[in-house]
């Protein structure tokens, strides 16, 4: 397996710095050939093949390592590999259309091989014209203006801020989109209602089952500013209201923000004995960000995120202490029952991805440095402001030939004992991703 990983990385690096040796002359263009290429068909099929080996240096003293590997410890390093395909298909018949996106991946990790097939999106649409669309099926709504986080994305799964551009899995819903355009300061007004059923066998990961929920978004382009008012209510999650905006202050400077008010949220507190206490209260989550492009094509994205659904650093420390206690008990007695309550925390609204309250995000990406076309190195850091631990994420992106995307990425969490990033299960992680689109 290690050989395979090394071979794949070597192949990737080879392609990364591969240059075609045969220079071609001045191209000639046959316009009739291009006219054939643009001919529209009533169906479309595409996707990509992906291989992604990952090597991680594990922190064997970390509570999160102990939580995941307490039964079968892999040692100081771990290799994981994903190999698979994403398939996309579309069919159009008059005003009706169908779309599906399917992920099929084989994963290898310390627990062995595992195969998984996920319908990421799959829906039918009725589009009688640009002013209206109706959708039914599994889809992502993509609400919010933030890059790394979207506190107003009330009917989507949360993004991974380490990889926010990755496609998300949708929920089954009924949705509409009604658009009007105007002359004057108000250029666009759009209303997007959503009906989200949550039952035992449909969208059960969303929240409490047995209910039909309603959400809506009202969008306006007003005085060159994107504005959204958002709303969600239902029994599966508590009622929440949102507002977001985005605007270019200069041609190369954009600001954006989101504000969410979540009513009757079940705030979690962890006692030293690991017991979780729930206290109902209204909470605010918000985000403020800027995107700036320099004359040298360096894009900087900076965001501050207040996560009203997060916990205090003291509660996180208590949770870590409880995991250590559960681990020690398992080591001494073989009794793993103490891990049970921790594993059910995510169903009660706790997120291991962003457990605390305040975060900073900075991403710097330099397009095509040293005149290397289609090459973009980037550097990202995510800082947990409540304990000042952070993540460092350098990456190299390259597309040496059409439809081939390569990415080499490292992740290094930095922090002291009992901090968020200091106690991640890995001390470092290196992943190489190859995608070939077809």
């Amino acid at each position: 397996m290690r050989m395979g990983l090394a071979l794949l990385c070597a192949m990737g690096l080879l392609v990364l710095f591969w240059k075609a040796s045969a220079a071609e002359g001045t191209p000639t263009f046959d316009l009739s050939e291009i006219e054939k290429e643009v001919e529209k068909k009533p169906y479309a099929f595409g996707g990509f093949l992906q291989a992604q080996p990952t090597l991680s240096g594990l922190d064997r003293d970390s509570p999160l390592y102990r939580l995941r590997f307490y039964q079968d410890e892999p040692g100081a390093a771990s290799e994981e590999s994903d190999v698979g395909v994403r398939l996309e298909g579309a069919l159009e018949y008059g005003d009706l259309s169908a779309f599906a996106r399917l992920d099929s991946f084989l994963s290898h990790d310390p627990d062995g091989w595992d195969g998984k097939m996920t319908l990421m999106e799959g829906y039918l649409s009725y589009k009688p014209g640009p002013h209206m669309a109706l959708d039914a099926g599994k889809r992502v709504t993509k609400w919010g203006k933030g890059y790394a986080w979207n506190p107003v994305s009330f009917v989507d799964r949360p993004k991974n801020p380490e990889d926010p551009e990755e496609a998300l899995e949708g929920y089954y819903l009924l949705g509409g989109d009604f658009i009007r355009s105007f002359d004057g300061p108000l250029q666009t007004l759009a209303f997007t209602p959503v009906i989200l059923p949550v039952y035992e066998d449909i969208n059960d990961e969303f929240g409490r089952t047995g209910h039909v929920n309603v959400a809506a978004k009202l969008y306006a382009l007003l005085y060159d500013t994107d504005l959204d008012l958002l709303f969600f209510t239902g029994e599966s999650r508590t009622t929440r209201w949102g507002l977001d905006f985005s605007r270019n202050l200069l041609t190369n400077l954009e600001i954006h923000g989101e504000l969410a008010w979540i009513q009757n949220f079940q705030e979690i507190t962890f006692l030293e004995n690991g017991q979780a206490l729930f206290n109902e209260s209204d909470v605010w989550s918000y985000l403020l960000g800027v995107r700036y492009l320099t004359e040298t094509d360096l894009t900087a994205i900076f965001e501050y995120y207040h996560n009203g659904e997060g916990v205090d650093p003291g509660d996180l420390k208590n949770l870590y202490a409880y995991i250590d206690q559960a681990y020690d008990t398992y080591q001494q007695t073989g009794n793993r029952s103490l891990f049970g309550p921790i594993n059910s925390l995510t169903k009660e609204g706790f997120s291991w991805r962003n457990p605390l309250r305040d975060y900073l995000y900075l991403r710097l990406s330099q397009k095509e440095p040293f005149d290397i076309l289609y090459f973009t190195p980037a550097f990202t850091t995510i800082v947990s402001m409540n304990d000042w631990s952070f993540n460092l994420i350098p990456e190299l992106n390259y597309s040496p030939i059409t439809n081939l995307d390569l990415r080499l990425k490292g992740v290094v969490p930095v922090g002291g004992k009992q901090t968020e990033y200091g106690e991640k299960q890995s001390d470092w992680r290196v992943e190489f991703r190859l995608r070939y689109f077809f």
């Binding site: 240059k19 045969a22 666009t188 997007t192 969008y219 382009l221 190369n252």
Partner: protein, 243 residues
């Protein structure tokens, strides 16, 4: 007193150089000859590297009036479904996997290479530029153009216009300090039907990208009236339905 003010105002108007007015008229004629005010268009963009390697994109574009333009990438597979929207100075890019449309700037490039977003989502020249000087070169005019606002990608343009066809043959894009950013060469005049006769190929090079060349090949242009609602953020994921 009123007579004096009136006299001074008439004097000021009369003092505007005649060549500026003539230059703007030439520019308006160039705009009219290049594209109808509202249209649909298919283009191929080709980036050629110094070693001859090529990367090609096919783009479907619709435009309405003076300030609305939207584009859809048809190929390559890695970019298929991406859409762009421009409303005046506002520009957005929608990437299907990534999520909602994000604001982009005119100087960025959604395709890499020498063409930037302002080149790909170009509005009429008269919308963004005014003529400050016209030179008569015999078979051609040379227009010296200045951006009307600071939000335009290039502060200055020098445009060579074929006197007979009233079509551009070459455009130099420059900074306010007259530094050359890129040069566009208009080639291969073609009759697209519907009275549209214009260059089918725009070739560009740039001293900032030595050895690289990019081409924009026009495969089809026709006048088309499109509803305003097609030029909205909500419609960006559905632009394909206009094809």
């Amino acid at each position: 007193m009123f007579k004096i003010i009136t006299f001074l105002m008439v004097l000021m108007v009369a003092a505007v150089p005649a060549y500026a007015v003539e230059g703007d008229e030439i520019l308006a004629q160039v705009d009219k000859n290049l594209t109808p005010e509202s249209y649909e268009m298919y283009r191929k963009l080709v980036n050629v590297e110094p070693d001859g390697r090529k990367k090609e994109f096919i783009l479907f574009t619709v435009k309405k009036g003076n300030d609305k333009i939207a584009g859809l990438f048809i190929s390559p597979a890695s970019d298929k479904g991406r859409t762009t929207l421009r409303l005046g100075d506002n520009m957005w890019l929608y990437i299907p996997n990534v999520g909602k449309p994000v604001r982009i700037t005119s100087l960025q490039s959604v395709v890499g290479g020498v063409f930037n977003n302002a080149d790909i989502m170009r509005l009429e020249y008269t919308e963004e530029y005014e003529a400050v000087k016209v030179e008569d070169l015999g078979k051609e005019y040379l227009l010296h153009l200045k951006a009307k606002t600071r939000t335009v990608a290039y502060d200055r343009l020098r445009m060579w216009v074929d006197r007979e066809k009233m079509l551009p043959t070459k455009i130099e894009c420059r900074t306010e300090a007259e530094m050359l950013i890129k040069t566009l060469y208009f080639k291969q005049i073609k009759d697209f039907g519907g009275g549209i006769v214009r260059p089918a190929v725009i070739e560009t090079d740039s001293p900032l990208y030595k050895g690289y060349r990019s081409y924009m090949i026009f495969a089809g242009i026709k006048a088309r009236d499109i509803p305003d609602e097609a030029f909205t953020l909500n419609f960006m994921p559905r632009l394909e339905t206009l094809r």
